[in-house]
Subunit: 226 residues, 2 copies
DNA sequence: AAGCGGATGTCGGTTGGCCGACAGCGTTAG
DNA sequence: CTAACGCTGTCGGCCAACCGACATCCGCTT
């Protein structure tokens, strides 16, 4: 579980680590995961915002729909990542959707009500939750800055670096990122177009800064990638 | 104070309203405001993030600097608005700056340490703080969506609508927004250029959808503005 | 094994809006 | 009062990157 622990660390608030003991103690037998199939929705806009979730297995797409019905992807989450946290920051009905991207996606749900109850006994928990939401805020600010002030190439490179530090395995100078993300996915996550992603990734490949195929991205040298 | 109350309501978490009694009780004589002069910094990047602030009077610019030294404005705050809240979400050193825009800008500072101490006695406070940060998150998500998926005209119009609902005084169909924001300011807040703001505002004026001069913006009919 | 849907690769045409430049215009400081 | 600086207004050049179109290519499904 070393890897999962690292993921939790990255979340910077080891929320579920704290809560799973709580759950077993306080919530008795309700300590279960939920299973989802590919394309199944965890929640959709206007659903009651009653839980937050941690991804145990599989992938979850977070996004919402524009007026014209077009889908906007704001995040694609994997093992160890938390979503739905706006529910505990006062959101009553979902504004976004969460959708499983793979069969057998396993989620650990956590009821807001129970969480609030726990907060009364556990002062430390309040800080952790505050940090969780605060961390989201900081990340979003970074994303905003990238999107507004950096060109497509820079955004994609920053995305690669993030992914590398987050999921990458280092071997010498090279960093290997196993990923099922399509160019379309990367485009959505970096605010660029599908074609631009393809072009820029191939540019980087030609310069031998990266290599990639359909299941991984390999960064030759993180220091040289810019 | 009706107006100020309305502002607090908009903040959705009546934080300082709750805390001022606390302060007078818990903090005794420390219930003071701080005064700043035009262009004086409240904090700058790398300062210790030890307080959050509410604007009592005047205006405060929040922003940060890009690598090339260019200034990025992320918000311009007036009476009743709160800033520096990342400090209570785990930020240790400021990443942004806060700068008074007018002489005699008055701020009400609130120490994070004291706040944390208060949180232990006041379970309601934890929720409020969570809501405060959560609200920021929601707003930022909206801003992100506007910046990425909407064109400059739409962004500026949305900005006008926001300002109207926030600071506007309705008189019949018309909404009057008193403001000292320059086109440059509006450009920074909407992620556009100064020239684009000037052009679009004048377009809207020509279409008689708005009127404006150097100290106010008048929206003819909120329903028709789009 | 065949076929089909989705992913990748490549090409131009098109354009929103940034930016520099410059000319009034208002405010403000002294 | 006056100078100076910053704000507003307008034009045109320019370009990043979006988008449609189309040709593979891959891999899953039946």
């Amino acid at each position: 579980m070393t890897n999962t622990t690292a993921l939790w660390y990255f979340e910077s608030v080891n929320l579920f680590n704290v809560l799973c003991p709580h759950k077993t103690k306080v919530m008795g037998e309700k300590h279960e995961f939920r299973r989802y199939n590919r394309d199944q929705f965890v929640y959709i806009p206007n659903d009651e915002a009653s839980h937050i979730y941690m991804v145990v297995e599989g992938r979850v797409k977070i996004g919402h729909y524009l007026d014209d019905g077009k889908e906007v992807v704001s995040a694609i989450l994997t093992t160890g990542e938390i979503f739905g946290e706006l529910a505990l920051a006062g959101e009553e009905r979902r504004k976004d959707f969460a959708q499983a991207m793979e069969n057998n996606t396993m989620l650990c749900p956590l009821s807001i009500d129970e969480l609030k109850a726990l907060m009364k006994d556990d002062k430390e928990l309040s800080f952790r939750l505050l940090k969780l939401v605060g961390l989201r805020l900081m990340r979003l600010e970074r994303k905003l800055e990238l999107l507004v002030f950096k060109d497509a190439r820079t955004r994609i490179i920053e995305f690669l670096k993030d992914a590398a530090s987050w999921k990458g395995k280092k071997v010498g100078f090279e960093t290997m990122i196993p990923t099922k993300l399509t160019h379309k996915d990367i485009a959505a996550l970096t605010g660029t177009s599908r074609q631009t992603v393809t072009t820029i990734l191939n540019e980087l490949k030609d310069q031998n800064l990266i290599y990639f195929d359909r299941r991984k991205i390999l960064i030759r040298d993180l220091g040289r990638l810019k």
